[in-house]
């Protein structure tokens, strides 16, 4: 009996080794800014006087304010960049990064959780399609041909966007992915766990089996120490460390199709700050991380598309606590080859908040977030039919990707 199961085990190992050769040629990296990022202070409409009027304390100074490094950086005749986003300016100037203004959802609750859930599930308000949008994308494009490292989220928990994705893994670094059993020859333990989880029928069966598969794969990766390319300098933040692990997986060709990385803490109700302070620190973390990631993956530009979104923007005006409350429209960022970069795409709706019937006010939403995701999926990720990911949704053509 033991012999037979050992044979089966080895056979499974062999199958996995075959699967290792299935490198991805299109990897989607999704960065979620949790808490509702105030993108108005990241891509600043400096030519709109109202902006400075309704944000007397927290606005980012005009590019010509004469405040040196404390001024925003001019992008065009209307928009400027938060100075802490300077590290990504070259990516923008090279035309590899686009910003879409006035993106959002139809969710009127003003709730972080409701809106994040809705977006991660890829739904319209109160219309559940079942599971996460990335999970549906993975299934639509790959069917059952997914491996334990096809979808990875950096952090302790799987995001809702990967709910229902077969074989999605939550990790922090690949170095600590191994079984540390007391006795030598951990294969015996792996065999026992394979048998125990293999006979499970419930919720735990596939996570158990996928974890065991992941272990085998990571074993091969571990052998080599990781050195970022092109002098990419990842700063000391969890966010950058996460991106570094993603870059490592991408360059190891383990078949990574989707990676999710979160950056938390954008819920700036109270003393948000301007060029310095609470939000500026987050913006710096974001900018430095994305710049290092981009440099590290210079050889993989054709392969990698990075998307940066949040659940909602904030009110256009500052509140009595020198912060901003929950709002509506936000600016999404897309980095990759073949996009119409170097510009803020999308009509600027102005800062007038009076038009909402339900829910908190904020910048008007001109582009449903699913239109952005659909365009990325169909034009960058070569998904023919986005209906399988966003059922019943007719995307509006925004023009993020070059036709």
């Amino acid at each position: 009996m033991p012999d037979q199961s050992r044979r089966q085990f080895l056979k499974r190992l062999a199958l996995r080794s075959d699967a290792l050769s299935s490198a991805s040629d299109k990897t989607l990296v999704c960065v979620f800014l949790r808490g509702g990022a105030d993108t108005l202070n990241m891509f600043v409409p400096y030519a709109d006087d109202t902006y400075y009027k309704i944000r007397p304390t927290i606005s980012i100074p005009h590019p010509k304010s004469g405040k040196g490094n404390d001024s925003s950086i001019k992008l065009d005749d209307f928009y400027s960049l938060h100075p802490k986003l300077a590290p990504i300016l070259p990516i923008y100037k090279e035309g590899r990064m686009a910003v879409v203004q006035a993106v959002g959802t139809d969710n009127p609750t003003g709730s972080h959780f409701e809106t994040q859930d809705q977006m991660e599930h890829g739904d319209a308000f109160k219309k559940a399609s079942g599971g996460g949008w990335l999970a549906r994308y993975l299934r639509a494009r790959f069917g059952n041909n997914l491996t334990p490292l096809s979808a990875v989220s950096i952090g302790p928990m799987l995001p809702e966007s990967l709910r229902g994705a077969p074989g999605a893994s939550a990790i922090s670094t690949i170095d600590d992915i191994r079984i540390k059993a007391p006795c030598e020859n951990p294969v015996v333990v792996a065999q026992a766990l394979t048998a125990l989880y293999g006979s499970e029928v419930g919720l735990l069966s596939s996570p158990g089996r996928d974890t065991l598969k992941l272990l085998t794969r990571v074993e091969t990766l571990r052998a080599a120490e990781y050195k970022p390319a092109n002098g990419a300098n990842y700063p000391d933040s969890n966010f950058a460390r996460g991106l570094r692990e993603v870059a490592r997986l991408i360059k190891s060709d383990v078949g990574l199709e989707v990676a999710c990385v979160d950056l938390d803490g954008w819920d700036t109700h109270f003393v948000q700050g301007s060029v310095d302070g609470q939000q500026a620190a987050l913006i710096e973390t974001l900018g430095e991380g994305l710049a290092a990631f981009d440099a590290d993956l210079a050889s993989r530009r054709k392969q990698v598309t990075t998307l940066v979104i949040t659940e909602f923007g904030r009110r256009t005006y500052e509140n009595g606590s020198l912060g901003t409350d929950h709002g509506r429209g936000f600016a999404a960022m897309i980095i990759g080859d073949g996009i119409r970069g170097g510009q803020v795409i999308g009509h600027y709706p102005g800062l007038n908040e009076a038009k909402w019937v339900l829910g908190p006010a904020g910048m008007e939403v001109l582009y449903d977030y699913r239109s952005v995701l659909s365009e990325v999926l169909s034009n960058k990720m070569e998904l023919r039919n986005t209906q399988s990911v966003f059922p019943g949704f007719e995307p509006q053509r925004i023009g993020i990707v070059k036709a």
Partner: protein, 505 residues
């Protein structure tokens, strides 16, 4: 101090300490004291061996954090009903041994002002270790389970602002004080709790005027997360009106640093209208009471709290008929928690749900420590495992609290396995197990016995005998290992704790 040892216990412990100190080879005083006072592993532990999970095993696994060696027999002897009723009166349960260990974490008993004299790191460690330690050792298991539930429901993230200095007070005077009391008292205590005033910006909330408008953050979460639930039927206008009621609460920064007070000058004292109910002008500091009363009396609150409690104790897909019955208890008894818990714990739905839930990492770690009868002061290394699994106490940033459902935790299996193996091989600092003692209590004196009957160990840990596939997996495992030394036994127990059966509850 929350609860003092009885005089008799104190004398007993002092006596023990006197003789314990000179003892060589007794590395841990707490463990020594515990074993002498009956808190260790009993000499003999019966193993339930039915095909289905034993009802007493199920009861303490769901109403608490799983059995300590000997607990299942104790419940059987007392009767399940008597055990539930006893758990519902926690103040009558002697918890001296747990309190004895708890004294080590001095800052959790202090007022906020004194806490400001400590370093953040020291406060964080005291609070998290105290929380974990109580879950492992308290005999008031149902209370601890409710504390876990409520710490999520009224989530406070201790890394935000000054929350770290204030959470211990919140834990004592909001959560633990009212955990089996009235729900309305919980909400009211939480509304003006200094930790909550910081966490959800209540201390910044002031009346609309030339210099600002109310901060709606807490008001929104009060309705969305603490009382009615997101579909509870409130409007954005209700959020705004609730925020008006809550204007004016501030924190002292002087001699009573970190205590809440009401500043009438910052309060909007006009008439409010929340959820269709009028709150007359001039209510001042009483507005919050009126608001909490209105929110808690709203029918959505009874349903929402009932649903969450059933999700906690029974199933993440709460059976509607049970939710309705529990909601009815809430409404009939003015939001008293005990009648709701009785309705749940005595229900058919509860009994029939054995083994159908997945443990969250905190419950997993605590149940491992309890099942092995570990001697732990809940050290940093144990907490690190929890952090790694994304479930460190009071470390959840957003006010919805850690997810209750299984799905977000499915990625944590590897870390659970590694915790189990590390625990069983005694490599976790400040968490010692004596698997010798445990195995002889179960009746598995020598390694040869263990090799022959791994299913007995499994049955002890899982509350039922292994099914055919499980049996085969363990038989195959022992056939591949040479039981020459105890390392293999440690690994086998780690493997049992790693199995799907022990992830479930």
């Amino acid at each position: 101090m929350t609860s003092e040892l009885s005089r008799r216990e104190f004398l007993a412990i002092s006596g023990l300490l006197g003789c314990a100190l000179p003892l060589a080879g007794c590395s841990n005083l707490n463990g020594f004291v515990a074993s002498r006072l009956g808190g260790g592993i009993p000499e003999s532990v019966a193993v339930t061996n039915g095909r289905d999970i034993d009802p007493a095993f199920h009861l303490i696994s769901r109403a608490g954090f799983g059995p300590w060696p000997g607990d299942v027999e104790r419940i059987k002897k007392k009767g399940e009903k008597a055990w539930i009723e006893e758990q519902l009166e926690p103040e009558k349960i002697d918890d001296g041994l747990c309190d004895f260990r708890a004294k080590r974490f001095e800052s959790v008993f202090l007022d906020p002002g004194t806490c400001y004299e400590f370093k953040r790191e020291a406060l964080r460690k005291d609070l998290c270790r105290y929380h974990l330690m109580r879950s492992v050792y308290s005999k008031r298991q149902l209370l601890e389970s409710m504390v876990e539930f409520l710490s999520d429901h009224f989530n406070i993230y201790i890394e935000k602002g000054d929350c770290i200095y204030l959470k211990a007070t919140d834990d004592r005077s909001v959560i633990r004080k009212n955990a089996l009391g009235r729900f309305r008292d919980l909400v009211l205590a939480s509304a003006t709790s200094p930790a909550m005033l910081v966490y959800l910006d209540g201390k910044e909330n002031k009346k609309e005027g030339p210099h600002g408008i109310p901060n709606e953050n807490y008001a929104r979460e009060l309705l969305e997360l603490h009382t009615l639930g997101v579909d509870g039927g409130y409007t954005q206008k209700d959020v705004y009106e609730a925020a008006r009621c809550l204007t004016g609460w501030r924190l002292d920064s002087g001699s009573k640093r970190g205590t809440a007070y009401f500043d009438p000058n910052l309060h909007d004292d006009g008439e409010k209208n929340v959820l269709g109910k009028k709150i007359p002008a001039g209510g001042g500091a009483k507005d919050v009471e009126a608001l909490v009363e209105i929110a808690c009396n709203h029918p959505s609150t009874a349903k929402y709290i009932a649903k969450k409690l059933v999700a906690h104790f029974v199933s993440e897909e709460p059976p509607q008929s049970l939710v309705n019955r529990v909601a009815k208890r809430f409404s009939e008894n003015g939001g008293q928690i005990k009648p709701m818990l009785r309705e749940i714990l005595y229900s058919k739905e509860f009994k029939e749900s054995a083994g159908s839930k997945m443990k969250r990492p905190f419950q997993y770690v605590v149940s491992c420590l309890r099942a092995t009868g570990a001697d732990t002061m809940a050290g940093d290394e144990v907490l690190e495992y929890l952090t790694r699994m994304g479930h460190g106490p009071f470390q959840y940033p957003t006010p919805d609290g850690y997810p209750m459902e299984a799905n977000p935790w499915l990625g944590t299996l590897l870390w659970r396995w590694n915790f189990a193996f590390a625990l069983c091989s005694n490599t976790i600092e400040k968490a010692n197990v004596s698997l010798d003692t445990l195995c002889s209590a179960i009746g598995l004196e020598d390694l040869e016995n263990i090799k022959k009957t791994p299913e007995v160990l499994f049955a002890y840990m899982a509350g039922r005998r292994p099914n055919q596939e499980e049996s085969k997996a363990f038989k195959d495992y022992v056939s591949r290992r040479d039981f020459k030394d105890e390392k293999v036994r440690d690994e086998l127990i780690g493997l049992i704790l790693s199995s799907p059966a022990f992830q479930k509850v």
